[in-house]
C-alpha cells in the first residue's frame, strides 16, 4: 500500500448473498480527522458496507484494513474494542438501561475496565475520561446530562439518536460509523448534530456517515463516496459529486437528458 493509506482502508471488498453481489469490489478509505459521506440510493449496499467493516458479515472476497491491521473475519466485539464504533439506522438502544448505564457499559467494555465488572462498590463513572473530557462533560455536550438517570425508552427521539453517538464514543474509538445520524430529525436538531460531528473530527476521529440529507452531507463531509448496486460510482468533494451525471443517474434512474 502507498503512503496515502487511510485509518480505514477497504480493498476489493465484496459480499455475495445468494446470487446478489450486495457489495461488489469496493475500494475506499477514511483518514483520521476526516468526515467521509457514504451516499447512494436505497439498497445500494451502504449499511451492508458498514456491517462488513464492523465484522457483522464476513466478506466473500477482499479485505478491510484498520490502522494498518487486517480486521475482516475478526469477531464484531473485538473490532469494536479495537476502535471502531457505530450507530444504527434504526435506533438500537438498550431500552431498559438509563443514559448513564449506557455510558458506563460501553466504557466498561474497554478491556482496562473488565476488572471492575464484578466490583460491588458503585463506580462513579461521571469523572471517567472520554474523547471529549469526562463522561459528565460529554453528556453535557450532547444535552443528556440532565436525563442521565432516565431509561432510554423514555427519551425523545432526538435524544435517543444522540445517546447512540454517546454510547459509541465511550468505546474511545478512532473511527466512528454513523448510519443516518439525522434520520427523523428536524433541521435545528440536524444542525446541532452536524456541529457535534465536526467537533469530533477536530478531535482527530475518522468519521464515515451514511446520509440521505444532501445539504447535511455538503455541510459536514470533507469527501463523499457514492455507491450504487454495491459498486463504487465516484468519490469527490460534496459539490463535485452533486453535479456528477453518474450520481444523478444513480438517484434518478438512467436515460435522462440533463442538458
Amino acid at each position: 500500500m502507498t503512503g496515502r493509506e487511510g485509518l480505514l482502508q477497504t480493498r476489493e471488498l465484496s459480499i455475495q448473498f445468494g446470487g446478489i453481489r450486495a457489495v461488489d469490489g469496493i475500494d475506499f478509505s477514511v483518514h483520521a480527522g476526516e468526515v467521509v459521506g457514504l451516499i447512494g440510493p436505497n439498497g445500494a449496499g451502504k449499511t451492508t458496507l458498514l456491517n462488513l467493516i464492523t465484522g457483522v458479515y464476513k466478506p466473500t472476497s477482499g479485505a478491510v484494513f484498520f490502522d494498518g491491521t487486517r480486521i475482516d473475519g475478526q469477531a464484531p466485539h473485538l473490532i469494536a474494542r479495537s476502535g471502531i464504533a457505530r450507530t444504527f439506522q434504526n435506533i438500537r438502544l438498550f431500552q431498559s438501561l438509563t443514559v448513564m448505564e449506557h455510558a458506563q457499559l460501553a466504557l466498561g467494555s474497554a478491556s482496562s475496565h473488565l476488572k471492575s465488572a464484578f466490583q460491588l462498590k458503585p463506580v462513579d463513572y461521571a469523572g471517567e475520561a472520554t474523547l471529549m473530557g469526562t463522561v459528565e462533560e460529554t453528556l453535557n455536550r450532547f444535552g443528556l446530562w440532565d436525563q442521565r438517570t432516565q431509561v432510554a425508552s423514555g427519551l425523545s427521539y432526538g435524544l435517543q439518536r444522540r445517546l447512540e453517538i454517546v454510547r459509541a464514543l465511550m468505546l474511545h474509538p478512532q473511527l466512528l460509523l454513523l448510519d443516518e445520524p439525522t434520520a427523523g430529525m428536524n433541521e435545528d436538531e440536524a444542525v446541532e448534530v452536524a456541529d457535534l460531528i465536526r467537533l469530533l473530527r477536530n478531535l482527530g476521529l475518522g468519521i464515515l456517515l451514511i446520509e440521505h440529507n444532501m445539504p447535511f452531507v455538503a455541510h459536514t463531509c470533507d469527501r463523499v463516496v457514492v455507491i450504487n448496486f454495491g459498486r463504487h460510482i465516484t468519490t469527490g468533494l460534496p459539490e463535485e459529486v452533486r453535479r456528477d451525471p453518474r450520481v444523478l443517474e444513480a438517484y434518478l434512474g438512467g436515460d435522462h437528458d440533463y442538458s
Binding site: P76, H77, A80, A85, Q104, S109, A117, F118
Partner: protein, 280 residues
C-alpha cells in the same frame, strides 16, 4: 416448626433455586425449559458422591459443578438457536436426561438410587441463603448491566465491544449450576432419587415461577416460587379442584400483570412499604 413445615420450607428452597436457574438464563433472553435435566444431573452426581462416602456439602458442590459443566456444554450449541427453538431444544434436553438416568446401569435405572445420606435442614437452608446471596450480589454488579444489554439488544451489545457469546454461555452454566444444586438438595432431603422425579413438569414449573413472579427482577423467581409452592397447601380444602384453582390464579396474574408480580426496579422492600402504606 413441625416436620411438615420444615418439609414445605425445603421445597420452597429447592423451587426458588429452580426458578433462579430459569431466571439467570432468561436474563440473556435464553428460555431454559430443561431445568429438570440439570436438576437430575446435580441430584445423581451428588447422590452417588455421598453414597461413595464424600461429605454432603462436597457432594452438593460436585452436583453443582457437574450440572454447570452440562450447562456450558448445552450453552454452546444453544447459541445457534434462539427464541422458541432454543426453548424447544432445552425442553428436549430435559426429556433426554430423564431417559438417560432410566437406562444408566450405575444410576439404579427405574429402581432409582436409595441409601443417600440425609441432609440436616439447617445445612440446606444455609446453602440456599449463601447461593441466593451470591446471585443477588451478581445482579448488583457492573456485569449485570452487560447481561441486561444482551437481553435488550444482543446485536447492539456486541457492537459496544461486549463478548455476547461468552456471557450467554456463562449464564447457561450458572443456570445449570443452580438447578444442579436444587437437585443435590432434593436427593439428600428425600434420600432417594428416581428418574420420574425430574419430569418435564418440574421444568415447566421452574419457568412458571419466573413468569408468575416476574422475569425482570431477582425477586421475581423468589416470590413466584414461594407463592406457587405454598398456594397448593393453602388450597387443600379445595380437594380435587386444586390444580384448576392454581391454573386460574396463574391466568389472573398473567392477565393483570403480564410481566409478573414484581417488575423491574421494584425491590422487595419498596413493594412491602407500598403495601403497608396502602393498608394503614
Amino acid at each position: 416448626m413441625s416436620i411438615y413445615q420444615v418439609g414445605l420450607l425445603v421445597q420452597v428452597c429447592i423451587n426458588i433455586l429452580l426458578g433462579m436457574s430459569v431466571y439467570v438464563a432468561l436474563s440473556t433472553r435464553q428460555l431454559n425449559l430443561g431445568a429438570a435435566g440439570f436438576m437430575a444431573v446435580g441430584a445423581y452426581t451428588a447422590a452417588m458422591a455421598s453414597i461413595a462416602g464424600i461429605p454432603i456439602s462436597v457432594s452438593l458442590l460436585l452436583g453443582m459443578l457437574g450440572a454447570m459443566v452440562v450447562g456450558l456444554l448445552i450453552g454452546l450449541p444453544a447459541l445457534r438457536v434462539s427464541g422458541i427453538y432454543l426453548a424447544m431444544a432445552t425442553f428436549a434436553f430435559g426429556l433426554v436426561m430423564e431417559s438417560v438416568f432410566l437406562v444408566l446401569p450405575f444410576a439404579g435405572q427405574a429402581r432409582g438410587l436409595a441409601g443417600i445420606p440425609p441432609i440436616e435442614p439447617i445445612v440446606l437452608f444455609v446453602w440456599t441463603a449463601v447461593v441466593l446471596s451470591g446471585v443477588f450480589l451478581l445482579t448488583r454488579t457492573q456485569f449485570w448491566f452487560r447481561v441486561r444489554s444482551i437481553h435488550d439488544d444482543e446485536f447492539a451489545a456486541s457492537m459496544t465491544g461486549l463478548n455476547v457469546t461468552t456471557v450467554k454461555i456463562a449464564m447457561f452454566g450458572l443456570s445449570g449450576a443452580l438447578a444442579g444444586l436444587a437437585g443435590g438438595m432434593y436427593a439428600h432431603w428425600f434420600v432417594y432419587v428416581e428418574p420420574s422425579a425430574f419430569s418435564v413438569e418440574v421444568s415447566i414449573f421452574a419457568a412458571l415461577y419466573v413468569i408468575f413472579g416476574g422475569r425482570q427482577s431477582f425477586w421475581g423467581p423468589v416470590v413466584g416460587a414461594t407463592i406457587l409452592t405454598l398456594l397448593p397447601e393453602f388450597a387443600r380444602g379445595l380437594d380435587s379442584w386444586r390444580p384448576a384453582f392454581i391454573g386460574v390464579a396463574l391466568l389472573v396474574i398473567l392477565i393483570l400483570r403480564p410481566s409478573g408480580l414484581i417488575g423491574r426496579g421494584t425491590s422487595l422492600l419498596t413493594l412491602l412499604v407500598r403495601r403497608v402504606g396502602r393498608t394503614s
